[in-house]
């Protein structure tokens, strides 16, 4: 058997097909959203997909166990970048999230998600113990989680910080934590919520208040949420037809090619289209979880679980946001939303999952 045959035979083609389908849906929607206003965005996205595919292949080819050795260096790099963005980052509407590299801009917090997944997986591999974790065992990882989360909060980027925190929490829970510890920490978190409120910035509070009562400011913060809800709801069962959505085509939907791309799906393809999209997603995620549960080692399965959590949280928060059941935070929809860094990340994750899936046959 040649090396090529081994790759093709054991590769998870189903997973790749689903990802391809999702990317295709995304391209169709972006085309619909920007064809009348900024068609170049569509071609840019095509380029990003090609480049990201190379990232995916690379992530697949390099043995994922290499990352175990790189976990610490990556962690340090991440912290440095997150710190750097606070100093040299471009300020856009009161937040510093992007570092300009001249030819392109990168969003370090986006990469923080995957690096945290790798670092957590590494840490769980190193810290194997028979008993579930108690309070004392969690102090060290908690500190290492809080450092990047805190830096992202300083940018500020509430959405990403929340996602990083939640992914880490999900991973720790999967590693195993004592029930009493879960209860104690849970109630501590809930009672801390009011204090978190006061650390939020004015616009963040406004977003949350407007989420609770969208009519509070129908032309300001609430405008996105309202127009998006109208787009989703007016899609009905079968949708208005591709390129026929009035909310999309007449630009009532703001940022319809990035964070609000789901509304385009919902408006033009209706309930049929949205449930189909959700079906694709759930197949993708269960497949990733399946890869995780069959992985050769703990590091591999934890990476897969982390990635499954990463996708699930993005999908849930993004779609909830477009349907008005979650505040408007800048969380894009995996494989569908326009954006280079995000597409890199998504395909990088897929590359890692394929990597884990493929290497379970190799000892």
């Amino acid at each position: 058997m040649s090396r090529y045959d081994k790759i093709t035979n054991n590769l998870d083609w189903g997973l790749l097909a689903i990802v391809a389908a999702l990317i295709a849906v995304g391209l169709l929607c972006i085309y619909s959203a920007v064809r009348l206003t900024a068609i170049n965005i569509f071609f840019k996205q095509l380029t990003w997909i090609l480049v990201a595919s190379i990232v995916m292949i690379t992530a697949f080819l390099v043995d994922y166990r290499t990352h175990m050795r790189l976990a610490w260096p990556m962690y340090v790099c991440m912290v440095l970048l997150l710190a750097a963005v606070l100093v040299v980052g471009r300020e856009i509407s009161g937040a510093r999230r992007w570092i300009s590299l001249g030819f392109m801009s990168i969003q370090p917090s986006e990469f923080a998600k995957i690096i945290m997944i790798i670092w957590m997986a590494y840490w769980s591999e190193k810290k194997i113990q028979i008993e579930s974790y108690g309070m004392k065992d969690l102090v060290v990882p908690a500190l290492f989680i809080c450092l990047p989360v805190g830096l992202i909060l300083l940018e500020p980027d509430l959405g990403t910080a929340g996602i990083v925190g939640m992914i880490a929490t999900i991973m720790i829970l999967l590693i195993g934590v004592k029930r009493s510890t879960v209860i104690t920490l849970g109630s501590l978190f809930v009672s801390a919520l009011p204090f978190i409120w006061f650390t939020l910035r004015e616009y963040q509070r406004n977003r949350i208040l407007t989420f609770l009562d969208p009519s509070r400011d129908p032309l300001g913060t609430g405008y996105h949420a309202m127009q998006s809800k109208i787009a989703v709801g007016s899609g009905g069962l079968w949708g208005k037809g591709y390129l026929q959505g009035s909310q999309t085509q007449l630009s009532f939907l703001p940022e319809h090619h990035t964070d609000f791309i789901f509304s385009v799906v919902a408006e033009e393809w209706g309930f049929a289209g949205t449930t189909f999209l959700l079906l694709l997603y759930i197949i993708l995620i269960t497949k990733i979880i399946q890869v995780g549960s069959r992985a050769k080692d703990r590091f591999g399965s934890m990476i897969c679980y982390g990635i499954a959590g990463y996708f699930s949280l993005h999908i849930f928060i993004n779609i909830s946001m477009t349907m008005g059941i979650f505040p408007v935070v800048g969380v894009p929809l995996p494989f569908i939303s326009y954006g280079g860094s995000f597409m890199f990340m998504n395909l990088l994750c897929i590359g890692l999952v394929l990597n884990v899936a493929w290497r379970r046959f190799m000892f």
Partner: protein, 611 residues
Amino acid sequence: MDYVNSNIAGQQVEEEIKGRGKYLTVFVCVLFGILVLRLLNMQIFKGSFYEEQARNNRLRIISTPAQRGKILDRNMEVLADSRPAYNVMVIPEDIRNVKDIARKLALILNSDPREIMDKIKQAKQRPFSPMYIARDISFTQMASIESQLYTMPGISIDITNERDYLTRGLATHVLGFLGEISRKELDKAGEESDYSPGDLIGKSGVELICEGELRGLKGRRAYEVDALGRKVRVVEETAPVSGRDVRLTIDKSLELIAKQALGDRPGAVVAMVPATGEILAMASSPVYDPTVFLSPMSPESWRSIIGDPMHPLENRAIRGLYAPGSTFKVLIASLALREKFIDTKTRVFCPGKYELGNTEFRCWRREGHGSVDLITAMAVSCDVYFYSLGERLGIDRMSTFAKEVGLGRHTGIELKDESTGLVPSVEWKRKRFKQPWHRGESVITATGQGFTLVTPLQLAKVMSGIVNGGRVMTPRILASTPERLEMNLNLSKEELDTIKQGLRAVVDSDFGTARGIKDRMFSIGGKTGTAEVARGYISKLPDSSDIPFKFRDHAWFFGFSPVENPEILVVAVLEHGGHGASIAAPIVRDVIRGYYYSKGLSYEQVRQDNQ
């Protein structure tokens, strides 16, 4: 590093962790379940609600007003026409910068930016329905707004048909005026109606009563806009249906003669065809400018019209209330004949005054008329003759008769807001003043002074009935209203002939109070009247020109022609005009003369007809 070396233990933990993947699956399924439920709710159960909202987002519906019907006279001559007008409209939803737009518009329209801002804010209650912010702007203003439209999303210019009163001041009160629909009228019309805020609606006169016919049906144009309020395409268009023309019984040329005869003196003229009830002319003075109500007016100019002591908005022909004065003697004479209190030979001696107990009632002619019979008493308008009739008949008979012939109630004309007038009675006085009726009051009632109040139209209707062989026709002003015989007066032909003789003597006899209007061409019958405004005060002053205007008497005259078979009856009243004979009678004569001229008959023909 407490790396666990034990392979078995490690294996166990490994399996355990891998097995936890199913918890993750459950967690993810719960999240997706929430999403699906929410989608189901929004897209399936509430789909139509959001669809409506999306529709509102993208569709703007502009109604195109229908051309309002014309108002024509009996000969199809135009009294009120429609002409194009340019208006500034706003769709509040599409306005982005209220302040900026208000400032730009105010500069062009020469108005206050705050006022425009208030209007836009007010319109926000119905964000998707367009509303007028300025009407009937000049062509230059329209052109400069049109050229800047692209900088003012949400603002547009539309063309409507505005009323054009071709002959300003002619039949103003009959035609009435249009004004912007009020909240109350809008509520009354209902949500489903064709009306929207800012529409014009008939507020008085024919414009009000024929609103339904004149208005027509608005057309609509639905077009799609993008998020910036720019028009994308027209989706649907229905043409407006023009309003129907309304034809009146008014004769334009006679109306003009009546108006000119009246001049700018406060008063009213009504010309009526006794046999049919058709109103040929109805003029009221002073007049107002009906166009000022087309655009919203400032509170000051509104107050200046409402607070004008001359009440220019009132149609005095149907709203003005005056004591009938001596014209009332016609009714007293009819009643006395019917009740056999008198016949043509009955004579009364007039020494210039009439005594009742300790009270003395003066005849208008202080030196008295001597012995007079009924015909003479009517011709010279002898007060004493009628004082005596008043005392003998008593208030009950007089008041019953006045009500019987149609006083004290609406005449039945199509116009709204008619006054009912007042027919006093014992009962009425007890209720109104909590006082008993005095015999002296009966005496003065018989000469048309005292409490009785009539409108010019009421007088025209009753007198038409008397000169028309007792057939009282309901007055009408719309050509479409069928002729209606309201009642036959309970008077014999002989009685009516006697009255007519008396009325003719008023003009024809050498002593008649209106002998001055005697015409060689046609015959006129009629009766003068002087409604006392300030009783007693006047008689103390020797010369009427010394009396302040507001205390001067109202002057009445009604006349009809030809006497034998009347084709026209004209009532004229001049407020504070003094004596009816000298002031009001010539107006009636002029209108009757104008009537014959407008018929195109030659002098000889008219004369022959009147023999």
